[in-house]
Amino acid sequence: AQSVTQPDIHITVSEGASLELRCNYSYGATPYLFWYVQSPGQGLQLLLKYFSGDTLVQGIKGFEAEFKRSQSSFNLRKPSVHWSDAAEYFCAVGAIRGGADGLTFGKGTHLIIQP
């Protein structure tokens, strides 16, 4: 069964500093990987996705993620965070195994921005 691990429950970063959120997945074949962001009281917004090809993926709001097959990782990065980036971030993996599988989500990382 596929699984996603986000090792950091909370991360605190100063505004203007760089950010890296970790995501490790377990899946037997090439995964389809996603990062979603959830602002307080809001739904999930897709930041970026990886299906195939270039392992460095660019997303919205200045985020990027790098797929590393050898490390089973898909870490999210941003060179300079803004106060508005404070939110919950979810990594997810999907597959076409039976054609209809839902996404498997990590438990999330809560990002706090210090002024």
């Binding site: 429950i9 389809y32 739904g43 999930l44 299906f51 054609g99 989500f105 990590g106 438990k107 999330g108």
Partner: protein, 113 residues
């Protein structure tokens, strides 16, 4: 296009009461999903549907029923609500078997007293 919408946004129930959550999508997507989100647990799949008239169980289906009578709507029912069903419920849709990306609704916050 409204995308994926959910009704209601908030609801408070007493233990034993029943209710139905409505999810609607206007993207002509084949697949639809219901997830629940609990603190520290991420999102977990409750039920899903691969087309009109079809439903299937996900990871945490107990205590819930679903129906997909129309392609654009996916209903989640709680026949006898329990405090353990206090959660935020998200609906999502997906275009078809090939397209993996899911589009999420804004969520329904349900409290069972």
């Amino acid at each position: 296009n409204a995308g994926v919408t959910q009704t209601p946004k908030f609801r408070v129930l007493k233990t034993g009461q029943s209710m139905t959550l409505l999810c609607a999508q206007d993207m002509n997507h084949e697949y639809m999903y219901w997830y629940r989100q609990d603190p520290g647990m991420g999102l977990r799949l409750i039920h899903y549907s691969v087309g009109e008239g079809t439903t299937a169980k996900g990871e945490v289906p107990d205590g819930y029923n679903v129906s997909r009578l129309k392609k654009q709507n996916f209903l989640l029912g709680l026949e006898s609500a329990a405090p353990s069903q206090t959660s935020v419920y998200f609906c999502a849709s997906r275009r078809d078997r090939v397209s993996i990306e899911q589009f999420f609704g804004p969520g329904t916050r349900l409290t069972v007293l």
